[in-house]
Each structure stands twice: as C-alpha cells, then as structure tokens.
C-alpha cells in the first residue's frame, strides 16, 4: 500500500462526492415525481398514456444503464437541436447523465409506487369519501401516506442503486467519484489504493442512506401493526 498516494488522493476523491450526490439526488427527485405520475396514470388506466407508460417501463428495464447514458449523451443534443435550433453540445455532460438516471428512476419507481398504491385497501378511499373528502384530499391525506410507508423499503433500494449507477457517468466524462479515482490511479498505477478508497466511500454513502431511509420508514410506518414493522 502506498500511503502517500492515499493521503494525496483521498481529499481529491472526497471532493468528487458532491458531484455523485448531485446526480443521484436530482435524478431521484425528478424520477420519483415522474414515477408517481406514471403510477397514477396506470392505476387509473388512462387510455394511451397508460400503455405508453407500460412500454416505457419495459424499455428502460431492458436497457443497460451504460447504453442509456450513451444514448442520452449523443441523442439529446440532436433532439434539442432539431426541436429548438439550440446547440446543446456545450451543455456539461453531467446533465445528460442526470437525464438518463432520471429515466431509470422514473421507470423503476413507477413500479414501486404502483404496487404501493395497489396495496392500500380501497376501503380507505371509500371511508374518506364517506366523511365528505374530495378525491384529492383522500389521496393526499389517506392513500399516499399509507402507500409511501409501503414503498419506502423499495425506494431505499432504488436510491442506493442510483448512487451506484452514477459511477457509470464516468463513461460520458463526468468527473464523479469513480472517474476521479481512475484519473488519480493511472499515472502511478496505484489501482489498489484508489479503488479501496472509492469502495469505502461508496459503502459509507450506502450505509448512511440506508440508515436515513430506515428511520424514515420507522417514522412513517408507525401506524402499521408491530409484526410488519
């Protein structure tokens, strides 16, 4: 082990953590909002939209993340150019990575949200109607909170998954954790050191995320029977 290298490289790799988190968090927020909308569309069987969502989910689930990243990176500028005439080639690569990660999260989370919404008994909605709530009130106050409690363990898995997924953004030239480690390791062939650091960082991030989700799960799920918690 080359400890001098570690001492020098660690701060630089750590400095890339915000890039990784930025990609993961932005893609998660955008992806989950899309996912909820798609889940609602499919649950209410809105014609055309519902089928489009199903096809989208199937497609994203079937295409490896790397390919999604490449296609997003090369296709989006073309699409933007032909639609608006704006030259998007100078847009930083990170935004194309975020776009690809968003699509991925949208597809997977829509399945999670759909299952969670279905798990809420219809009687809950009817009871809300029976006391005079509007459908929107019933969804917001009764159905969504219950569905969220059901969805959280899977959402936690999705979030850790996307943290891992950001490592592939390296291949479209985003200087996140993995790319930075690689860049530092190559000149002196300090691969072991660089990747051990990287591994520890990713493990730490995953650990913290799992903890945060777990505590959210306990807080939001405290109404559930103790055996299920």
């Amino acid at each position: 082990m080359n400890f001098d290298f570690i001492r020098e490289a660690l701060p630089q790799v750590l400095a890339a953590v915000p890039v990784t988190l930025e990609m993961a968090v932005l893609a998660t927020i955008a992806g989950w909002i899309l996912g909820i909308l798609m889940a609602v569309a499919r649950r209410n069987k809105i014609p055309v939209l519902s089928q489009l969502c199903a096809a989208f989910v199937s497609f994203i689930r079937g295409v490896p993340m790397v390919i999604l990243l490449y296609v997003s990176y090369y296709a989006l500028p073309m699409i933007i150019y032909s639609a608006t005439g704006i030259d998007a080639t100078s847009v930083p690569a990170i935004w194309y990575a975020i776009a690809a990660l968003t699509l991925d999260q949208a597809a997977y989370s829509s399945e999670v949200f759909r299952a969670a919404l279905n798990s809420v008994n219809r009687g809950q909605l009817e009871a809300a109607w029976s006391v005079g709530m509007t459908t929107w009130q019933a969804m917001r106050r009764i159905v969504f909170p219950q569905a969220l409690a059901v969805a959280l363990p899977n959402l936690s898995g999705l979030f850790v998954g996307i943290i891992k997924g950001t490592s592939l953004a390296y291949y479209v030239g985003v200087y996140e954790i993995t790319a930075t480690a690689n860049l530092l390791a190559t000149p002196g062939l300090n691969f072991i050191e660089a990747y051990v650091i990287t591994t520890l960082i990713y493990e730490l991030i995953s650990f913290i995320c799992n903890r945060l989700f777990r505590s959210a799960e306990i807080r939001l799920g405290r109404f559930r029977p103790k055996t299920a918690a």
């Binding site: 009871a127 109607w129 029976s130 006391v131 005079g132 709530m133 009764i142 219950q146 409690a149 109404f223």
Partner: protein
Amino acid sequence: MMVSLKNIRKSFGSQQVLNGVDLEIDVGEVVVILGPSGSGKTTLLRTINFLDPGDEGSVTVGNHTVNCKKHSRPDVLQLRRRTAMVFQNYNLFANKTILENVMEGLVTVKRRPKPVAEEISRKMLTRVGLSERFDYYPSALSGGQQQRAGIARALVLEPDVILFDEPTSALDPELVGEVLQTIKGIAETGITMIVVTHEIAFAKEVASRVIYMQDGVIVEQGSPSEILVHPKDPRTQRFLRRITDPSQDPKHIDMREDSPANEKSVPTSA
C-alpha cells in the same frame, strides 16, 4: 322527509342488483334492512352516498337531490357531506390514530379549527367508550373497538343520516354485543339511521321500521312486529324461518331465494 330514494336501478355488468327501489325515510327513523346475501341491500345503502352510483333514479338527502344518471362531482360531494357511513370492515384510516380518525372529517371537510375538532372528537370517543384509546392506531385495537371508533367518526360529523353497512358482520361473536349496544345508544338520540344487518334481535329491539329486500326489490316493510313476527309475504317467512331455525339445512333452500353465487360476482356489495 330526510331520505328519499326514487326508482333506484343498478346493475354490475349483466347482473341486475337493484330493480327500481323506492324508499322514503322520515327524520329520526331507524330503518333496518334485512335480506339474504345478494338481495342488493348493501348496494342500496352504497347508492345513497354514491360509493356505488345507481344507474337510474334519484337520491335525496335533506333538501339535496342528485339524479343518478347525470350527477356531477360537487353534487356527489354535497350528498356525502350530508351522510356518513359505518363500514363492515371499519375502514378506519390506517395511518391516523383513533383521535385523528374522528377529527379528520371535522378538520378537512368542516374546516373546524384543530383544537375545537379535537375537543369534540375526544367527547365523542368517550361517548362510545374509547376514552383510553385516543392515541392508538387502528391496528392496535380490537375489531369491536375499531368499529366503535368508526361509529364515532360518522357521528361527529352530525350527518342527516348515518348508513350502517353490516356493522357487526366482521366481528368475533363476543364483540358483537358492545357494538350493537353503542348503535342502540345512538338510535335513542333521535338521529336518522339506516342499518343493513343480519341481527334479527337487534332489528326487533331498535328499529322503528324493518324492510325486507330480495332480488333487488323491497318485498315488504313495516313495524318490527309486522315484519318479524307476522310477515305476510312467503319470501319473508321463508327467510325468517331459515335464520331463526338453524337446524334447517341451508342446502335445502330454494336457490332463487339464496344466491350467494350472485353475491360473489359482485365484489363491491360484499
């Protein structure tokens, strides 16, 4: 007149569940609806607050009339705000405590300030015997306790009419009594109620009027003694014989009368 149903018709697919029901209920009446499984009694109750909208006919509660054929969302909402329902499976909001369950309608629908809603709700829960359980989630309560909370949730809204959908059918036998006692106590306060049930003894004791339904129509109605002691229609007689004389093998009963198979194809009316 508190509730008025005119020519309610309803079918699920090809299955005709309600075949033109007319019903008028006065202020303060306690109407008990009896009938075999699949007779349409639960569906009738659910057409009143449009959980299952009728295909034809009209529903009036108080002075608010909604036509089944062309009902708008605000119409239905108005109707639901004049009624309240107690469900067979309680349907307490699982993510809210008992107290929050009762407060929910007051806060979100009636726009009462929270402290006021909380005070009213506490009183109501105490009235149904749940003063020790305010902060429990429904999953931590027995069926009887949940159903009493369900009754409090309905009652607190001061509706024109409370609809009870087989309120004791899902309960363990030893818990039925406490819930029926609670309902009886409410009936005595003079609130208008419609109760779908299988509890004949309860009907005898509490009802001001008993209705016997079968095959989606009202067969006969009258005072408890008229219907339960001296029924005129042979269909009512057969139903009562079967229910009061458990030694009679249900397999020997005419299939036209008891059609559980039909009920199965109509999931929402179960």
